[in-house]
């Protein structure tokens, strides 16, 4: 057994190839889902791609893996990076040539963010999407968005768009902190 800690260079090299001692044939589908749950969204590193609901499906026969991924927004600049991060994580687990499919339909909705994902967003300082996307009104009043930092419901929207397309910018009128709100779509 080699007990020395791998250097960052080792990790870099290893991340790009299949480890020699990997036994991907022993991986179950559940194990692959668990591996995917370790792949974090690069723009919101508090949640995994599974918690975000963008991994739609996978098929695994012990040799060939296909993962269906859907983008959050049409113009999300992280789409290619996320696909590459997923492929990399799969290769690191010993899976050769994982195939990542980009699927547009059905369109991603924030309703697919898991309960756990919502809690992690809140803990990260981002207010999770409120209510259901299908019930959002076009020109009507907004829902009350609670401050993820102090919990106050005394907040106001500063802008419909925040640091990324998927978020709006809010401000808490009690603790005075600005915060991102993950918009319902």
């Amino acid at each position: 057994m080699n007990e020395h800690e791998p250097s960052s260079v080792d990790v870099l090299i290893a991340s790009d190839r299949v480890p020699a001692n990997a036994r991907p044939d022993l991986l179950t589908e559940d194990a692959i889902w668990a591996l995917l749950d370790n792949v974090l969204d690069p723009e919101v590193p508090a949640v995994s791609v599974v918690e975000l609901g963008i991994v739609r499906d996978l098929s695994w026969d012990g040799t060939h893996l296909t993962v269906d991924v859907t983008p959050t927004y049409s113009g999300c600049p992280a789409t290619e990076l996320i696909e590459e991060l997923i492929a990399e994580a799969m290769r690191a687990a010993g899976i050769r040539d994982p195939q990542i499919n980009r699927v547009l339909t059905p369109a991603w909705t924030t309703d697919w963010i898991t309960e756990e994902g919502r809690e992690k967003l809140r803990a990260f300082g981002i207010a999770p999407p409120q209510g259901s996307a299908s019930k959002m009104s076009l020109l009507g009043a907004d829902d009350v968005i609670a401050c993820p930092l102090c919990g106050s419901e005394h907040t106001e929207r500063l802008s419909e768009f925040g640091s990324t397309a998927c978020k709006a910018l809010y401000r808490c009128l009690d603790c005075r902190e600005p915060f991102d709100y993950f918009k319902c779509i």
Binding site: P71, S74, L158, G162
Partner: protein, 254 residues
Amino acid sequence: MTQQEALQEYLLRMADSGMILAQRLSELVGKAPALEEELASSNVALDLIGQARNWYEYAAELIDDGRDADKLVFLRDAHDYRNLLMVEQPNDDYAVTMARQFFFDVWHYFTLKALSNSKDERIATIAAKAVKEATYHLRRSSEWVKRMGDGTEESHRRIQDAFNLLWRFTGELITPDDIDHAMFEAGIGPDPQQLKQDWFGMVREVAAQATLAVGEEDAWMYMGGKTGEHTEHLGHILAVMQFLPRAYPDATTW
């Protein structure tokens, strides 16, 4: 014109209109009137570019002459562009920027809503995603129109001037031509009558709340963008947008 040629033209209209408006909005990066507005404008631009890419990729597959989305964007001249004249108009003051956005967003929202029920599955898929984004664009621009219209004397004057200035480009949004009719008859595109009715309905509703007057339905309108006849502005937009890929053709790293 065959059905497929009409479809290609239609896809280019959707793609080019989003792309050119996104390029206009990108001009605000670094000089929007407020930080929040800079973020909002660039996010809207990003959505529009993402949607445009989806339309271009579909168009490129149908055109099938070896050009991809990038080549369609960077290597076509103004007369090959099929965008609405509205979107190539200059940013001017923020009231003009927002009036342009509002007129476009209302058209975009109802068009995408109809397209998400298109018989063409690829179109329905792209539109179903895009309409969610366009909903937020419309929420923002309509709120700005109301805020400026029902705001101070100065903001009211400016947004009313902007409505008057841009009104002559609204006709093109809702006046169908042969291609629009062909797309509707094939179950692919929106019902032109319905689109016109929906567009006027929402524009009048928001204008009323904003205490703004809208122009006449039968006012003289500038048309031609959808068939490649543009205002003097498009060439300048393309000159900026296309310079790099034309100066360094096929460069993979810039």
